[in-house]
Structure formats: C-alpha cells, structure tokens
C-alpha cells in the first residue's frame, strides 16, 4: 500500500537501455529504491508474448561482484526466455553509491555483496536491505509497470544469488512456483563467505544468521511442495574451498523430503560458461511450473 499511494516519484522508472533480442526486448531501468535508500538499476527482459498478454515473472539473483549486466550479457538466457514466454528480471547485487565506510574494501563484503539479507548492524542497516528489496519492493514495482501475472513468480540465481534464491523461496512458502540454483552457497553459517557477511550485516547472534541459511531453513520448512534443481560444477574452486557445502543442503532436504535434483557437472567451474551451458534446462524447469 505504502508504495502505491504515496510519492509517485518513487515508482518512476527511468529506462537506461533497450535492445531487441530473440524477438523480445532486453531493457535496463533505474529507480529510487525505498528499501535501499539509493538509486538502483535492474534488467528486465520482455519476451515477444508480453506484447499481447501478461507473462509469468522469473527473478534471477547474481553472485558476488556482479551488477545487473553480467547475467544479461553472459548467460545466453534470452532464447529460452523468449520461447517459453517468461519475463526475466535481474536486479543488482547490493545498494550502490551510499558512501558507507568500508563498503569497497572487500570483493566479498559490502558493494556487490549484499547477500540478500536485511542488515541489522550499523553502518549497513539503512541501505543493505536486499532481502526486502528482492521479495517486496522489486516485485511490486515490476507488477505495477510491466505485463506480468503477479500470481506466477519463480526465482533462481548463481552462487550468492543461488543462496538468495533458496532462502527467498524457503522463507516464503507458496510465493514462488519454483526455485533453482547454480553453484549456490547452501550453508553460509558454516562457510568463510557467510561468516564474514553475516557477522558484518547481522552481528554475532547466530540465530539471526540461521534465518538466512538455506540448510537451516529447510529443517523447519513447513510449506508447500517445492521442486529444486541445482547444478554444480565439479571443478569449481569454491566447491573445493568449502564455500558452497551442497552436501549439507542435500542431506537436510533428504531428511525433510524436499524434492531436489542435484547435478554435479564434470569439468565445469564457477563461471558464466557453466551457467550458459545449463541455463536452458533451468528456464525449462521454471516454465513447466509458471506456464502450467
């Protein structure tokens, strides 16, 4: 309610770019974000079908160091999105230009590393609210401005974005029709990336950490049936570094009978070459539920 009836300026979108692709349009917009208190860019792909009717919406969350550009220029997702008639939205990975001390010191914390949480600690809590941005503000903005069906939404992502997709789905049973991930950070409370990010954004209370950890969330997931597809490169250095921990997630899902198909892909690493190889499978996975 707040966003619709107050301050129309907040809802204004400024188009940054538009390129025709597989019969549809890849656009980038900028807007003033209420949650993040700064200007944010996001990418939207409108398939040909969007010219004549509302389409389902598929949200992509990118990984560490990415902006809204990486996915749209490297993943090769457009053909599948066009064929299946899906609107695909790719936000940035953190607030930008907030002038917070320390935000540019590391590539895995601060700028480009929002971790899709709502920070509770200073100096992050005013701007670093990517969880609310992705689950509330952005969908409301998309629903109000683009030909999407608000009842049909799914989410997927890579690495930190894979973590983001999993936790958004697990914390909001029924909100997303499907979820999938590429090399997700499955158990952040136990890996170096997660420990660094969570202690910075959430402080020292581990209970606050668990609320953003997919492996923990699964253990108490009460909700409607999910069908989770995960691709993981076998030669992924972050897998061998213990940053991703998919085994923990799979074990938890097996116990709780959450349906997962986890594919360990021989020879593949953590890069967009890996994502590009399997992106069509993921889009088909989502289309099956979004177009049902």
């Amino acid at each position: 309610m707040r966003l619709i009836f107050t301050n129309r300026r907040r809802m204004a979108l400024k188009q940054i770019s538009s390129n025709k692709c597989f019969g549809g349009l890849q656009k980038v917009f900028e807007h003033d974000s209420v949650e993040l208190n700064c200007k944010m860019k996001f990418a939207v792909y409108l398939p040909p079908k969007a010219e004549t009717g509302k389409c389902p919406a598929l949200y992509w969350l990118s990984g560490l160091t990415c902006t809204e550009q990486n996915f749209i220029s490297k993943s090769g997702y457009h053909q599948a999105a066009s064929e299946h008639g899906l609107v695909v939205i790719a936000p940035d990975t953190s607030p930008r230009g907030c002038n917070i001390k320390g935000e540019d010191e590391s590539w895995d914390f601060g700028t480009g590393a929002g971790f899709y949480v709502d920070a509770t600690e200073d100096p992050w809590k005013t701007n670093y609210r990517m969880y609310s941005y992705v689950t509330e503000e952005l969908p409301q903005l998309i629903n109000a401005n683009f030909p999407v069906d608000p009842q049909r939404m799914s989410i997927f992502g890579h690495s930190m974005g894979g973590h983001g997709a999993l936790i958004c789905a697990l914390k909001n049973p029924g909100k997303y029709k499907s979820v999938s991930a590429f090399a997700p950070i499955c158990n952040p409370v136990l890996c170096p990336w997660g420990k660094k990010a969570f202690s910075g954004y959430l402080g020292t209370d581990q209970n606050k950490w668990k609320a953003y950890d997919a492996t923990h969330l699964v253990k108490s997931y009460p909700g409607s049936q999910l069908d989770i597809l995960i691709d993981q490169g076998k030669e992924d250095q972050f897998l061998s570094d213990g940053q991703l921990l998919p085994d923990n997630f799979i074990t938890a899902c097996t116990e709780k009978k959450i349906p997962v198909v986890f594919r360990l892909q021989e020879g593949y690493d953590h890069s967009y070459y890996f994502i590009a190889t399997f992106i069509a499978d993921h889009i088909r996975h989502h289309a099956k539920y979004l177009n049902a």
Binding site: Q225, P259, V261, F262, R263, L264, E266
Partner: protein
C-alpha cells in the same frame, strides 16, 4: 453331355475359416496398431483383410475401413489418436472371404505394449495381465544358464514389445522404494549376458537401496552422470521421444523431472525392466503424455 469328360469340372475350393487375432499381443500407440493373428487354416490362404470400425461413434453404423491384400499374419495399421477401434480379420482364398474373426479392441490413447516372454530371465515371472514382473526369493543360482541371443541369462531382465512406430511413447512403472531395479529402453539385440546400461545398446535408470540410502544412476555404456535425488519416486514416468532423440525419466508422485538422455536411436527400441533383488514392478500402459512432461 458326358460329365465325366476329363477337365470339364472340378469342385470349387471352400472359403477359409476365420483367423484368430492374438489379442494379448496387440501393440499400439496414438497413431497406429500392430495386429497379429493365427491363420486359422491348415491350407494356405491367399491374403488377409483387416477391418476397422471406430467404436462409440454417434452414427449407429460405423464406417468400416478395410485393409486388403495382407500377405502375412500381421499388419501395422494407421489410426487416429484418442479413439477406440474394433478390429476384425478375414482370410481370403479363391473360394472367397472367411467369416469375420472374433473382434479385438484397440484404444489409441498412449502406447500399449506387452512383455516379451521369450526375453524373460528364468527367475522372473510375468503376471496374468502381462503388466507385473516378479522376482521371488531364490536359494540357488541354478547353475550357469546357457547363453542366448533372445533370453536374458545374467541380468534378471525382460524386454517389452513396443510398436515399431516413431513419435513419442510414454509409460509408467510402479516400484517399491526399497527395491533395487533398473528401467529404461534397449535395442532388441542388446547383449543378454550383460547388465542393462553396460553397453551402448541400452539407456536406463538404476536404483539401488543400500544402508538406508537411495542411489540413482542413469546408465549408458557403463557411465552415469553424478546426480543426487532427495525424494525417491514410487511411480516413474518414462518418455521415449524418437523425434527429438531423447529418453526422459520423471518422478510422477510429484511431477518432477529427473533426467533426460540424448540418444541416437538408429533402430526401434523396447522398454526394458530388471530386478536386482526380489520384488516386483508394475507397469502402466495406455497413458497420454502428461502435460508437465510434454515440455521435455
């Protein structure tokens, strides 16, 4: 006229007896049926005629389509999808046509196949309706079985007889979660002394239940991708797609896609089933491709 003059008269042959359709061996899909029959005659017959009527049509006298001049006891007839047909066969010789055979019914919803008893490993039994495969407890290995080109002698397996028509075929297999089984497709000449999935002539899903854990392998040429599945299926859907050269497996309890092989089918393939431990599999036929499966 003297009727005993040589060559002036001899008795006409009698019309033949009606053939007997082998109903249990009918194979069909949405576009065709393969019917075979016993001649029903000791003497040779010139040809056979297959007569088809669409059952349950609004017109009381259904139009009968006839396929004539069939030289052998077998015919592959083209049909319309999602209909029911009544089929008769007649034999024909110089004395004229036989009476109609007993009818057989064909439904062109999904694909129907039966299990091929000639391929069946001796430790497997097939139920009366031809759709349940049972491996019972056995104490002995009954010695070495002689090698065979038709019958499985090592892998406790059986092949189905799928209609040799391209397009898509779909069937389901009901399994026990604790059962060790293998399901998929194989060429007719798959080596019968090998395990399913051990060579390039079969593609299958193998489930092994050991130490309370479920292991799933998708085998072809002895290799499998590394896949973990957290919810074990009790009903598996199998989609064979000749046009797109794919074989897909689904957990039908939750409409979940499990895996798709990309295969080169240079010949027709048949469904294959094996049981690595005592237990049973139940096959379900005649099912239209479910909507969520169609996108694969």
């Amino acid at each position: 006229m003297n009727r005993t003059a040589v060559g002036l008269s001899f008795p006409l042959p009698l019309a033949p007896s009606p053939p007997v359709i082998k109903s249990k061996e009918i194979r069909s899909c949405e576009e065709a049926a393969l019917i075979c029959w016993e001649s029903g005659n000791l003497n040779p017959v010139d040809s056979y005629t297959v007569e088809l009527t669409q059952a349950e049509t609004p017109e009381a006298s259904g139009v009968t389509e006839s396929v004539v001049g069939i030289p052998t006891c077998e015919a592959l007839v083209q049909l319309q999808p999602r209909q029911s047909y009544t089929i008769y066969v007649r034999a024909l010789n110089m004395g004229g046509p036989s009476a109609r055979s007993q009818p057989a019914t064909v439904h062109t919803t999904g694909s129907y196949f039966h299990l091929n008893e000639q391929t069946c490993h001796p430790w497997l039994t097939i139920s009366e309706d031809g759709l349940t495969v049972v491996r019972s407890e056995r104490k002995t290995s009954a010695g070495e079985l002689p090698a065979s080109n038709t019958r499985f002698t090592r892998c406790v397996a059986v092949l189905g007889n799928l209609i040799p028509v391209r397009g898509r075929h779909y069937w389901e297999v009901e399994v026990d979660e604790r059962l060790d089984y293998t399901v998929g497709v194989a060429f007719e000449d798959v080596p019968k002394q090998e395990d399913l999935g051990a060579d390039s002539l079969s593609w299958c899903l193998r489930h092994t239940f050991v130490s309370s854990r479920h292991k799933y392998e998708f085998l072809h040429n002895k290799t499998t991708p590394d896949i973990r599945i957290t919810v074990s299926p009790r009903k598996i859907g199998i989609l064979l797609d000749y046009e797109n050269s794919k074989l897909s497996f689904f957990n039908m309890d939750i409409s979940q896609h499990l895996y798709t092989f990309s295969c080169q089918f240079h010949q027709f393939v048949h469904p294959c089933f094996s049981l690595e431990k005592p237990g049973c599999l139940k096959i379900h036929n005649g099912i239209s491709v479910p909507k969520h499966v169609t996108c694969y």
